[in-house]
Amino acid sequence: MSDDLKALLLAIDIAAFRREPDGAFTPVAPLPPWFGRLMRDPTFPFLGHILEDAAEFWSRREEGFREFGPCADVNEAGREFHYRVVAVTASATSYLLFRLDPDAERLRDVLQTVREKALVESTLPIADAGVLRNVVRVRGEDIHGLLRRVLGTAPTPEQRELWSAISSALDSMMARVDALASNPSRPRS
């Protein structure tokens, strides 16, 4: 591999390995710092069925790639990061790539907000339903705003599906809170 390509892979934070005939993985470029913790065992046994599926993909010897994940791990500083695993076949050679996945982190931020609200709803005393109604309405608008920023103007079909699911869930949550607020003596289901 050329020095230019090695520098490029490092610059875009991709850890790249060539798969040897014996199944071992050899780095083809310097590994980015974030990858350190995943190198505890260079055979990556923790990948489990991902490696099995990748091996099946490589065995077909068709040029292209197959992506797996997202997976999450924690770096030395205790900060969680997400990455994807990519099996590649190019020029009759098998590669395994690991790349950071910032989309997963944005998705986590959205889900975190939605789920925190759902947890509050499930534990708040019924007498507080009126207050909760306002909280859900305001935070629902926050979530829609966050989604618009995350997904941009051209969301993928998968992202549109997620958006639709979140919108439906927010509507459903709002309807349930409305029901609670209008009839606070009703027992919680």
């Binding site: 994940g69 791990d73 997620l162």
Partner: protein, 166 residues
């Protein structure tokens, strides 16, 4: 040395990641952090004289937004089904995930973990439901990731069942 993959399954916010953190790193945080994708951890346990390397797949919690992908379960030798004792609906989610797991990986050992015993005064799970499950052969362990109560016991119970099933 035996190496076995196990999965953590359950609804969101039931404490799957907290149980793994307590078990693997002996730490607990009160702050809820949602999981996206899968976190993979490893810990060795002794079952009798046998060492077992558990490869723990902490899979994101299921809800309306994220359904558990069947492919994550493949190759699992067992799983912990986690429910939150203070949220009754999480038991239904656990039951649905047990159906999914059984359809994907067959009848492998599993343990139902009822987490958050430190919040016993908010417990919502009807004892009759739990009796029905136990009668149906489900192994049930009550845990608190916060205090650490029974966390090792839950993983040990699963590891032991997996060895017996080999």
């Amino acid at each position: 040395m035996i190496q076995s993959k196990i999965c953590m399954l359950g609804g969101f916010g039931v404490g799957k990641t907290s149980l793994v953190s307590r078990f693997v790193h002996s730490i607990f945080s009160d702050k809820y952090l949602t999981t996206v994708g899968v976190k993979i951890e490893k810990k060795s346990v002794a079952v009798g004289e046998q060492q077992v390397d558990l490869i723990i797949w902490d899979i994101y919690g299921e809800d309306d937004f994220q359904k558990v992908r069947a492919s994550y379960l493949r190759g699992s030798s067992g799983y912990l089904l986690v429910a939150d004792g203070t949220r009754r609906e999480t038991l239904a989610t656990a039951r649905a995930l047990q159906d999914l797991a059984q359809s994907v990986i067959g009848r492998v050992p599993f343990v139902l973990v009822l987490n958050k015993t430190d919040l016993a005064h908010q417990w919502e799970l009807p004892e009759s439901d739990l009796v029905d499950l136990a009668t149906g052969g489900w192994r049930i362990v009550r845990t608190s990731a916060k205090s650490g109560t029974n966390v090792e016991a839950a993983f040990d119970a699963l590891a032991s069942s997996m060895l017996t099933a080999r």
